[in-house]
Symmetry: C2
Subunit: 140 residues, 2 copies
């Protein structure tokens, strides 16, 4: 099972950006502050994917530096996979440049790692998988 | 019905870029040359969305100029909607900056228009809909 999990979009202000998506009939389902990344996030479901608005809490954060350098815009693309360790191993074999060389565990228990844009066609790419104890589809 | 239809990614070479996606277990399903945009495209299905690799056929094309200015990376995000005229009207009412002020008809008959990044959080956004005579879901 592979899909586009979400698109991370850096914005100056979630309050300012969300009205555009509301004009498209899309709505923020969930907001959250991620302290260790100094970012406020707003998740907007789009079909079985999501748009994740990213508003920095301080200038000297990953998203804050991105905004200062590039302005608002797409920050990363996240692909959802079913066997993240196999994908990591395959990319290492191929010599892809990774931001971290191990799978990380996110706030909700989901697994992820990032591939450097230089190895992913200029796109900062997140590979992610649901938390190992997340509810499975019947029969999965 | 709204979903992420595709992500357009500008690349120097489809041949060079596709191997990375193959490492993720993704494959090019279809390649096409779009003469009037002077671009070669390769569609990679990802769940019910697609990644569209865009290779310019000449430097003086929209994608060629993008590559020269920014390098490889995300070129546009396309959202699929069910009533494109209603979305266009709503965006006009809200004063969004549009690349064209009418719905365009694409090669396969699909409908689309583009919203300028200045009105869409820094992202060049395509709004699209299937061709009016495309097969519908049963009961739709």
């Amino acid at each position: 099972m592979t899909k586009i999990d979400h698109l991370g979009i850096a914005v100056e202000s979630i309050a300012g950006a969300r009205s555009f998506y509301e004009a498209l009939g899309l709505h923020v389902a969930h907001e959250e502050t991620v302290e260790h990344e100094q970012v406020r996030t707003a998740m907007i479901p789009v079909g079985n994917s999501r748009i994740e608005l990213l508003e920095p809490l301080q200038e000297d954060s990953a998203v804050g530096r991105f905004l200062k350098k590039r302005g608002a815009g797409l920050h990363h693309v996240a692909l959802h996979v079913s066997d993240i360790e196999a994908v990591l191993a395959e990319l290492k074999t191929r010599g892809a440049r990774l931001i971290s060389d191990k799978v990380q565990v996110g706030a909700g228990g989901h697994l992820y790692f990032f591939v450097h844009p230089s190895s992913a066609g200029g796109v900062l790419l997140e590979i992610c998988q649901d938390a190992p104890d997340a509810p499975q589809e019947p029969g999965a």
